[in-house]
Amino acid sequence: MTNWHVVLLYELRRELRRKSYLFITFAVPLLVIVAFFGYQLYQESSEGSSDEPAKPFTEVNESNDHIGYVDRTPQQLFPAPDTYERVTCQATNDEAAQLRQDADPSMVRSTLIKRVSSPYCLKNMIVRYDTVDAGKSAVEDGDVDVLYVIEPDYIEDGEITVYFEGLNIEVMSSEETITDYILRSLLYNVDAQPYEQLYLRLRDPAVITEHTVAASGEAETGNENSNLMLVYGFGMIMMMSLFWGGGYLMQSVVQEKESRIVEIILSSVQPTALLVGKILAEGLLALLQVAMLLGTFVFLGSQVSDVIDSLQNIEVGTGTLALCIIYFLLGFLFFGSLMAAIGALSTSVRESQNFVVLVTLPAVVPFFFISIFAEDPNSTLVTVLSMIPVTSPLSMIMRLSVTDVPAGELILSMALLVGGVMAVMWMAGRLFRVNTLLMGNMPKPRDIPRLLFG
């Protein structure tokens, strides 16, 4: 099989000059990054100078929320913010440094936390109304965005009712603020040290770590959210490169037919070598595209603290990563060959688009069961899906990202996939040789066996 590398290099050069490829691969990530930082700059400028002293442990809510509330509890548990003892809500630079040393609890720090998280500090955002009607009028007049009514049975069942006008995006952020205010008010009379512990704990009352019992009897520690994120992430990479790379590949095959250069090429290079060169080139290009986009999102994610917190729980071993890459490459060869075969059978790019779903639909089947992959990655369904060559690339990548797969299953699955890759490559090669040249029209399904074996 000679000349596949010539095909590979030519396809790479050709594709890397295509404007649409360059746009998606390089311009889109750049635009996203520019838009992200542009938005951040806008946010900062609208919030004032960024040279202000560091904000004490993000407790002082600087949002533009205007929240009204009505306290209907018999005990009147929630006085208006401005009725609390007046304190300095802003921490000085020294105090801010003290606040950040969360590993070093001290009386000074506890007192400080209690001071800056006093209900008084929310006085600019939260307004108390004596009656529900007065509160509702304030919402109607636009004085406040939302109105929370703390119902009389609050202590027993925690019931709070919210009123707002039409579709109001402020409701979502205001919920956090009112919860915070309730917490601060309820803890107001607690001494500084228990206050610090309780306040910080109750703001994040449960950090759940799952322990599932594996077949070996050993407990495996994992976090369901990060599992799901991993499964989803790896799955998405596979899918995106499959759709993009496969699409480019099919297009490149059909274009050679449409431009009628294919017979000249086939007089110099074997169909299999042409296929291999094309598949590898388009695979690499798709990988570059996915890496660029993924890199952009990871980079932007690292700029947002919430996301990085979730990502910190994720650990992928080198062995797993190597296996994922092998499955990715085999998967691309498998689906790429199928896409190329569709290209070989079609007479135009438009015609080929109609048949893409025949390849992509079976490929995305594992996505339908994504929750099972995250919760029970060694179940029978998942095991079967990770054996069938059509579904195994995506299934195994998703499965490997969350659990260890027994070596026997890995070997069997990989052997089946390698067999599948060889079969589809042979098939695509046959269709290239015979069909591209002899058929002016798309063959009927009953003709295909004859084209393959004839």
């Binding site: 009628r260 090429i265 007089s267 040789r433 040249l437």
Partner: protein, 311 residues
């Protein structure tokens, strides 16, 4: 790998190719000698293109053997062949030079060599300034020139062209004829396949005529035409042709300027010319043997179904 006339450039032996129940090529045998111009003739659907594709290993024969440049075709052999199919095109959105370099590299040339030679040849066909243009920006005639360059860029020993002159404008028709003669003079073997027989009958040394996948005529072009020549002459001039001794019948040709004189048994064209030379009753502007065109021969053979094979 320059071949001499005693070498076999292509040897096809008892080759058959079926598509389902349809037999495209049926037990075909022929040989192409090194350094000759060989024409494969026949109407559309005769099996010419299928035969060429089998020679080039694009299709595999069902039975029979084919040797090319002294052995079974291999990837190495392909590097010595230039092929221009009937259905020919180029990458439309790629620069001309890039396409030529790619096709040259596929034929085993280094990138530098392919680039240098492509630029030389583009200059030769007066397309030097279009080297960086996209193929789609060229006129159809220009694209044809580029296709021809792609076929011979790698200095092949054997050039195979399917319908060499189809779709070519007069300028490019002359260009390709000149190029083919030039290469042939340098020892390159040339195989052409066409259904437009009149276009290449003056170019080819030998021919193979096929119909429905069968060989109907095979041999030197002159031999074939002489074999089918009638005892008749074509004359252009004035005089009473029917009164001429030895002429059995007179036919006016289609253009009205010349007449076909069929001669009686035992009368030769030389005898008639002698008579005309001494007679004042006739003025002659043109006098030639009535040798049939390949087209006429083919129609005769195909209709009667009595193909004759020769050397």
């Amino acid at each position: 790998m320059s071949l001499t006339a005693t070498d076999s450039a292509i040897c096809v032996e008892h080759v058959t190719k079926n598509y389902g129940t349809f037999t495209a090529v049926d037990a075909l045998s022929f040989e192409v000698y090194g350094g000759e111009i060989f024409a494969m003739l026949g109407p559309n659907g005769a099996g010419k293109t299928t035969t060429l594709r089998m020679i080039l290993d694009i299709l595999r024969p069902d039975t029979g053997t084919i040797t090319v440049l002294g052995g079974p075709i291999s990837e190495k052999t392909k590097d010595h062949i230039g092929y221009l199919p009937e259905e020919r095109g180029l990458y439309r959105n790629a620069p001309v030079l890039d396409v030529l370099v790619y096709l040259g590299q596929l034929k085993g040339m280094s990138r530098q060599d392919a680039q240098k030679r492509a630029l030389e040849m583009l200059e030769y066909v007066e397309l030097g300034e279009h080297a960086k243009s996209k193929v789609s920006e060229l006129s159809k005639g220009m694209q044809q020139k580029v296709q021809i360059i792609a076929t011979i860029l790698h200095r092949p020993d054997l050039v195979i062209i399917d319908e060499p002159l189809s779709g070519l404008d007069p300028v490019n028709t002359q260009l390709i004829k000149d190029l083919l003669f030039e290469m042939n003079a340098e020892g390159v073997t040339i195989v052409m396949s066409t259904h437009q027989m009149h276009q290449i009958e003056a170019m080819a040394d030998r021919l193979l005529m096929i119909d429905h996948g069968h060989q109907v005529l095979y041999g030197a072009v002159d031999d074939v035409r002489q074999r089918f020549a009638e005892n008749a002459v074509i004359v252009e001039g004035e005089g009473d042709w029917s009164a001429l001794a030895g002429v059995s019948s007179v036919e006016q040709n289609d253009n009205g300027r010349s007449v076909l004189l069929r001669l009686a048994d035992g009368v030769t064209p030389d005898m008639i010319m002698e008579t005309l030379a001494v007679s004042d009753a006739y003025h002659i502007r043109r006098y030639e043997l009535a040798v049939p065109s390949l087209n006429e021969i083919f129609i005769k053979v195909a209709v009667s179904g009595n193909g004759q094979n020769g050397g």
